[in-house]
């Protein structure tokens, strides 16, 4: 799957709010093909709210998000798994939603789920569930992955497997916005943005200063 975008996401003077409270303002950034943007900052700052805003799950308080329709896929804290369905049934459901049944085996193999495919999702460990949740990203065939702490619950081999999948996505011209509290061991160093510099109650500087 090779994506053919010149620019995947552009954010201009974006403000983000939650429950009527302004959390972040003055955000300007772009995500280009094969590029990862890692968002950092303390808990409660609005990182998840920003991701949800980028995904279109909540409206922005101000500013502009420029992206094509059906570009992004979101992976939040909850993986959207049905414990009463097996691993393969969960994936098949999302494959049908994204019309990508041909990617089912890729998704199973990339996240080392082939041996678990007939096990009920409710009987998986937290790490296995996380892998199953992330496997959905492969099925989406969308160029922009919005990931909220994707490596939580993953052991080292699973983490390496995820980095490999992420690298394949970048090699295909995809991009990602990732909220993470731990450094990501990607082949190409991602752009890192400290969101505390854009906290609405605190000070904020220019976008250049914010990129570490």
């Amino acid at each position: 799957m090779v994506y053919g975008h010149l620019m995947i996401l552009s954010v201009k003077d974006l403000s983000v709010s939650r429950g009527g409270r302004l959390l972040l303002s003055g955000l300007n950034f772009e995500v280009l093909p094969s590029e990862a943007l890692v968002l950092t900052g303390p808990n409660g700052l609005g990182k998840t709210s920003l991701l949800r805003t980028l995904a279109g799950l909540q409206p922005q308080a101000g500013g502009e998000i420029i992206t094509e329709n059906e570009t992004a896929v979101y992976a939040g804290h909850a993986d959207g798994l049905k414990s009463g369905l097996s691993v393969i049934e969960n994936l098949r459901f999302w494959a049908d939603i994204f019309a990508s049944r041909h990617r089912l085996n890729d998704a199973l193999e990339q996240f080392d789920l082939s041996d678990l495919k007939n096990r009920l999702a409710g009987r998986l460990s937290a790490g296995q569930k996380r892998r199953l949740g992330l496997a959905r990203l492969v099925l989406s065939e969308r160029p922009l992955w919005l990931l909220d702490e994707p490596t939580v619950s993953l052991d080292e081999p699973s983490r390496q497997g995820f980095y490999k999948t992420l690298q394949t996505h970048f090699d295909d011209g995809g991009g990602a916005v990732i909220v993470s509290h731990t450094p990501l061991a990607l082949a190409r160093s991602p752009k890192v943005m400290d969101l505390s510099l854009f906290a609405a109650q605190g000070f904020f500087t220019t976008e250049v200063d914010a990129f570490l």
Binding site: Y74, F93, I97
Partner: protein
């Protein structure tokens, strides 16, 4: 949309809850009503069509509060919102699954439960047909109520308070079809109005419910 419908049906059948509990509740309430009224077969036969409709309507309410709540809690609703499927189609598919697992089984067993209420033999067909035509409206109106109360504490209670008044027109025409059919009167007018209510609900409420869901997901 078919994938979502099939998934919901699979989950409902595997969980074994859904229609099983609704039918059991329908059975118990009908039985309680028969015991409460006593052995006056004339009175029982007279109120049977309306009573069956009220019991079926209450049974229909049972599983409504979980219609979107499970998908909301496990994050599926967020993921479906950004998936290439309109939220209106999600509402429609989930309401159809609710009808297949609740409304349809209730319509099928209602004539059998009519025996407890001494429903005249002429009424069996009309109780079934009226519920068959009216329960899609109950599922769709219920889906709208479930969307409104999504994420609220004690949402189930609020859902009943919100939805029951909206069920009144369906109940009036549904019970009237069953009553008229039982006594051999012409049922065309109330039956057409009942069908119109169901089609109207199916055509309009997915949009209203999806709009409410979008607000609740923010």
């Amino acid at each position: 949309m078919m994938a979502l419908l099939m998934r919901d049906l699979k989950l409902a059948f595997r969980a074994g809850g859904g229609f099983g509990f609704a039918i059991l509740f329908f059975f118990i309430v009908t039985l309680l009503l028969a015991f409460g009224i006593g052995p006056d077969v004339v009175l029982l036969g007279k109120i049977a069509p309306g009573a069956l409709w009220v019991c079926a309507l209450l049974a229909c309410l049972l599983s409504l509060d979980r219609l979107f709540a499970l998908d909301y809690e496990d994050g599926t609703l967020d993921l479906l919102t950004v998936a290439p499927i309109p939220l209106e189609a999600v509402v429609f598919a989930k309401s159809c699954a609710h009808w297949i697992t609740t409304g349809l089984p209730l319509a099928l067993v209602a004539p059998l439960l009519g025996i407890f209420l001494d429903l005249p033999a002429e009424g069996y067909l009309w109780v079934f047909l009226s519920l068959l035509a009216g329960t899609p409206a109950l599922s769709m109106i219920g889906a709208f109520g479930a969307a409104l109360t999504l994420g609220l504490r004690r949402g189930g209670l609020l859902l009943s308070v919100l939805v029951l008044p909206l069920y009144v027109p369906t109940l009036i025409f549904g019970a009237e079809v069953a009553r008229r059919g039982t006594v051999g009167m012409d049922v065309q007018t109330p039956f057409l109005l009942l069908v119109a209510l169901s089609f109207g609900a199916l055509a309009l409420l997915p949009f209203a419910a999806a709009a409410v869901l979008r607000i609740n997901l923010r």
